[in-house]
Symmetry: C2
Subunit: 342 residues, 2 copies
DNA sequence: CTAATATACTAAAACGATTTAGTTATACAA
DNA sequence: TTGTATAACTAAATCGTTTTAGTATATTAG
């Protein structure tokens, strides 16, 4: 049971033991030896502190030290399975090291992202793990210049020398497209988000290189991230499918795959058996979808672990000391043969 | 662009304007009129504060006022689609009111939940929105006794008079089971989590009442929440399906449905077309699954809005003032007819 | 025996806000 | 003229820590 903690403070402890606040503080912060506190004194303090289960006020601590033991984890949308899974792992890793995590969603929107950063700047946040929206390069830059630990992921700014953890998008996409081609598909469509952000640009490039290599046509549909509602997105996909007689599709992200599948089920059920479907970001349900859907799976665990490793290192040393860490991880290609294709 | 904020403080502002810190503070907190600050003074302060884009240090503020403007949102597992979606809505609502949200996962584990609460107790968290693990009734009670705003959801403790937001589990389950029966299914299985927590108990009761009403047998599989890994769960389901010649299944929660579907695909593909499948918690993918899966859908938006409403009210008034709010929302039954069933 | 050093501890400033209990100057009443 | 209100502002305490710059006593060196 949680104790009805009577709000102990250093001062009360000091009074009770008839010693100074300073001594208590030194003992509690492991500086006792260094500050020449006697062994009996150390024992006395530790015993009492244990007895009353004293927990220091973190706010006061933060105010004084400037460290909050909180890190921010900012993604496009925390309700997206992919981000939520990584968040869950980050949460665990952080808690083990005594950090709390504040999650937030920027909707890939610069203003929202800026607002959020601004809010957090006045809360002494210790570090930021961020999926940057397209136009906040300068904001990220100024965070870094102020010496605040920042790690980007999923995408980064080539012109900004930062810490980041990403995957090899181009290769993943190239490899996936090639796999489709090798399985006999010739008219392969690529459905992606209309953006200049490098993760998407690279995914597209991988696709393009693969199709051009085999002298195939590229068929690309770009959809705005903030397309007017889900229905507009689906309408665009529908028209794209009607206009192009495709035999396979590569979706550049999981939420597009979801919309795409819905369109197929609603409007082109006859295509479902024939179409080769490949998606970025695996999901449990792709495995049991009919037909099952091949996926380019991002290593969530590895991403999270790397993010936290870099972050923890930054939190130890002033950021400027070391070269920014640029980590590129490999994806896993998960081919799935649908029962219909057998 | 975010300004390279030169860490202004009340003191610096006061010095610059040649007035006292107190005056600045009064003006900024809207107490100017009440404290008889002259209009020119108010204008002067506001102008300067605007010019330098002053943002008060929230830690100092919190230390002094005891309020952190942070609320905790604790669920079983933040990577679960259902919880993540609610978290996303909560996030937005909270930010609009100037609150940040710290998400965390207790894994339905008392010790983890207690640890988390303990950590947060020393951070002056303003309020808690919690899915309680089975044995933390007393911990919740002591939080409440200390006057800290707490709202439970998804489940509650009948013997504890708290604020909570839940759904009418029994009715939802009853109605869903009845629907299966009316569609001709006679051997209906119920796969649930082995727990005494009331959300699950009620879901089971709804099922039982419905089958007994029609003199049908009940076939129940209980799986431990912390079953040894995903594979053990699936194995139990597999054995259950082998042992019982069912024609329909009701899953009491989304992650069980997922495991169940995997088992069906892997081991009993021939059943997929015949079996009636109904699940608690809707998911985009249930719509496009083959066969499509009927769902008892919880009103995520409504749940989130109600949670925040209650929380915001509690944050305004000392908790003890008013009677705890007990809110029970209705689910939506979404019947889906699979193409095979046509 | 004195000076220097080490040991064991502490007073008080600081972090940056809020808030209580003033102070001064002016206005008005008796 | 004195006393009381009121307007307009402020000094200083406070929240609970950390940390700097001590102090007092004991020990050692010369």
């Amino acid at each position: 049971m949680i104790k009805k903690s009577k709000k102990y403070t250093l001062k009360k402890i000091a009074e009770k033991l008839n010693i100074s606040v300073t001594t208590v503080s030194f003992v509690l912060n492991g500086q006792a030896k260094e500050k020449k506190i006697s062994d009996e004194m150390i024992a006395k303090v530790l015993a009492y502190v244990k007895e009353i289960d004293y927990q220091p006020n973190q706010l006061a601590k933060s105010l004084r030290t400037g460290k909050s033991k909180i890190i921010v984890f900012m993604v496009e949308d925390i309700s997206n399975q992919f981000f939520a899974s990584i968040a869950r792992i980050i949460e665990d890793l952080a808690y083990k090291k005594g950090y709390k995590v504040i999650f937030c969603s920027n909707e890939n929107n610069d203003e929202k992202a800026r607002d959020l950063i601004n809010i957090f700047k006045h809360r002494q946040i210790d570090g930021y793990i961020i999926i940057p929206s397209p136009g906040i390069e300068n904001d990220i830059r100024s965070l870094i210049e102020e010496g605040i630990p920042v790690v980007l992921f999923d995408r980064y700014f080539p012109s900004l020398d930062t810490n980041y953890v990403v995957i090899d998008n181009e290769h993943a996409s190239y490899q996936g497209t090639k796999h489709l081609i090798e399985n006999g598909y010739k008219k392969i469509g690529f459905i992606t988000i209309d953006t200049q952000q490098n993760q998407m640009v690279n995914r597209m490039r991988g696709y393009q290189i693969a199709v051009e290599e085999k002298d195939l046509n590229s068929n690309i549909l770009r959809i705005a991230f903030h397309e007017n509602g889900q229905d507009q997105k689906k309408l665009k996909i529908k028209k794209f499918l009607e206009a192009n007689d495709l035999d396979a599709i590569l979706f550049s992200t999981n939420y597009l795959t979801q919309s795409g599948l819905e369109v197929l089920h609603e409007s082109f059920p006859e295509l479902l058996g024939k179409l080769g479907i490949l998606t970025f970001d695996d999901h449990e349900f792709f495995k049991i979808h009919t037909p099952s859907i091949s996926a380019i799976s991002q290593p969530k665990k590895e991403i999270a672990v790397n993010l936290m490793n870099v972050m923890l290192q930054l939190l130890k040393k002033p950021a400027k000391d070391s070269e920014p860490k640029n980590i590129t991880l490999n994806t896993e290609f998960i081919p799935r043969v649908s029962s219909q294709h057998r």
